[in-house]
């Protein structure tokens, strides 16, 4: 067991053993979530603030539930309607909240790197819940846990990540994590949605979906991020669905036991056919949501342990 980080800002700084540590602990929390006594006390006495500068229902609910199941006092702040509108800068907002002595700060922000900036200014542990097009580490961890539980391992798998790679922080975190765990990662999408320089990331790039899915153990679909697009990246949704929407015919190119994943929320009929998404033999989309809570419990638990350890070493007012 090792997890020697103060914050969880991205997958990029994590060591493979740290990833495994989070997943192992999350496995235990997943079992706890399925039982009748869902409550732990790992975060008892700690304050968790969820700061979402961008709309979110699913991730915020997941972090809130994770904190509550471990006994933290959880506060949700929807920053879109708060003082940010009055012109306060990100750093001032952070310092204001920091003065209230939170222990865990969960942040989502529309700008890449904003969570890193904020983490420099506060004394608590910061979890990145998605920053711009940069990283979304808990999503990659929950995807990894889902894969490990379905496939029995998290290495030497053939994994296709399909769709809007360019606008996706989920894709970046997943590419980093799956690469660190030594998997074969393939990116599939129209060339306008494949970021520049992606071929140098140690992945294969395909613009033909059938070729990209060939032999895949895992098919990871991404949402078409219409809200992040500033102009025509694709000619139309129907052409996109025809070429890159996951249907039974394209899925047949993957291995027979390939699992289908999607970080949600889904655009049914755009990137994924509804019957595939609902096929309980192939789709693990609901399991991903379940693992999301478990992974976030594990991540906050580990960060809280480090936080307590530093505070005891440092003495001071917190002891």
């Amino acid at each position: 067991m090792s997890f020697a980080k103060r914050h969880l800002l991205g997958i990029e700084p994590l060591h493979p053993t740290e990833i495994t540590t989070v997943l192992d602990l999350a496995d235990r929390y997943a079992e706890m979530g399925r039982g009748t006594a869902k409550h732990g006390d790992a975060l008892a006495g700690l304050t968790q603030i969820n700061m979402f500068f961008e709309n979110s229902t699913r991730t915020q609910a997941s972090f809130e539930l994770a904190g509550k199941r471990l006994g933290a006092d959880v506060m949700n702040m929807s920053m879109q309607t708060s003082s940010v509108k009055k012109g306060e800068t990100l750093i001032d907002t952070a310092l204001t909240l920091n003065a209230m002595h939170p222990d865990l700060l969960v942040v989502r922000h529309p700008h890449s790197g904003a969570v890193n900036l904020l983490a420099e200014k506060v004394t608590c542990a910061v979890l990145n819940a998605g920053d711009g097009r940069h990283e979304h580490p808990t999503q990659a961890l929950l995807d990894a846990l889902t894969i490990r539980r379905a496939k029995g391992r998290l290495h030497r798998l053939n994994i296709a990540i399909c769709g809007d790679i360019a606008h996706s922080r989920v894709a970046r975190s997943n590419i980093l994590l799956l690469g660190k765990m030594e998997n074969r990662v393939k990116l599939v999408g129209p060339s306008t949605l494949i970021p520049a320089g992606a071929a140098d990331w140690g992945v294969e790039v395909y613009d033909d979906m059938r070729a990209g899915l060939a032999g895949a153990d895992v098919v990871m679909m991404l949402r078409l991020q219409k809200e992040r697009m500033d102009g025509g990246f694709i000619p139309s949704e129907r052409e996109y669905y025809h070429r890159f929407g996951l249907d039974a015919e394209k899925l047949s190119c993957a291995k027979d036991d390939a699992i289908v994943m999607h970080p949600g929320p889904m655009n049914r009929g755009v990137e994924i056919d509804g019957t595939i998404a609902d096929d309980i033999n192939r789709s693990v989309i609901q399991e991903q949501v379940e693992m999301g809570v478990a992974v976030r419990m594990a991540a906050m638990d580990l960060l809280a342990r480090n936080l307590r350890a530093t505070r005891q070493e440092g003495g001071g007012v917190y002891v």
């Binding site: 990100l90 890193n116 900036l117 711009g132 922080r169």
Partner: protein
Amino acid sequence: MTSSLFTNARLIDPEAQSDATGWLLVKGGRIAAIGTGTPPKDADRVIDASGKCLAPGIVDIGVKTCEPGERHKESIRTAGAAAAAGGVTTMVTRPDTDPCIDTPEALAFVKRRGEQVSPVRMLPMAALTKGRAGREMTEIGFLLDAGAAAFTDCDHVVTDTKVLTRAMTYARGLGALIIMHPQEPGLSGGAAVTSGKFASLKGLPAVPPMAERIGLERDLALVEMTRVRYHADQISTAAALPALARAKAAGLDVTAGASIHHLTLNEFDVGDYRTFFKVKPPLRAEDDRLAMVQAVADGTLDIISSMHTPQDEESKRLPFEAAASGAVALETLLPAAMRLYHAGDLNLPQLFRAMALNPARRLGLDAGTLAQGAPADLVLFDPDAPFVLDRFTLRSKSKNTPFDGMRMEGKVLMTLVAGDIVFERDAA
């Protein structure tokens, strides 16, 4: 008439491309004599340079003084002090202030302020179009009469080619110099970094390097048509260089320049979203940087400038995409240039050709040289003196330098403008 004599100096003469030990006599604000043998004995004051370098003062095209409009970031007084400490003896100031310098009255104000408070020479440039909006040309004639050194809309691209053609044609008739920052705004809009593996991993909006070549090729086509005197500033990509070489070979009156940051830093320096490295155009790939350095050496690029752009802490302490672009550089231009010298990429005469001689010639100034009779605008510096830069020691009001905390070599010891000492480093 007082005279000063520098003895035992390493004379860097960009015109002769020479680097030799000798003496230099200043009389009446001008260089009276220069030689390598026994120095004359009749000087009022003798300064023993003890082997340090004496070069023509830097002529820096494209300094933003933030006055009028943003004096919390910089003023003509503080920029002038920074310039003196950096060995810059002529600041050619940008018109992208608030309001911008697009009327003869505004230009006269800036010019007067420069004469009153700046220890170094200051030549203001004027906007090419009113409000830098790209719709109507400014009063180029009146502005020239008022002393405009050149005409530029800075980082605003004149997208309407008809407006630009007319402005160029009109400027051609008056012999005015036009300076552009070539860019295709359709591709560069909203970009924070150069496109590639790094930008994609960091999830930042990016501009492809080709946007610069597209903008440059368009400008050069119009220059060929209008025959205006044209300077392409802020060239940062290898892809733009062949077009420049072709234009020069075709005999067009074209020069080009790069900022010191694009010669000494690359895209990876941005690292973990460090906004002090956010400049416009963005820092490029290492291959581009090397091509820029080579282009300065072979003369495809004529001019190195500081692109001094002060930004206060509030403008920079933001997420990378939202942060302001630009870096202060008047005081770090020379030590940063010494990196290229110590790396063996460029020798000192080549550097001062790009920092002093070429910009002076392009603007029709008689400075930038150690020739007899030239103004005694001089910088005495030690190219080897090491230091670690602490940004709070800078004289600029804004401290946004990308070199903060870095090890540098090269200290300005003394700066003279028209024979008067405007900066002298304490012995300590």
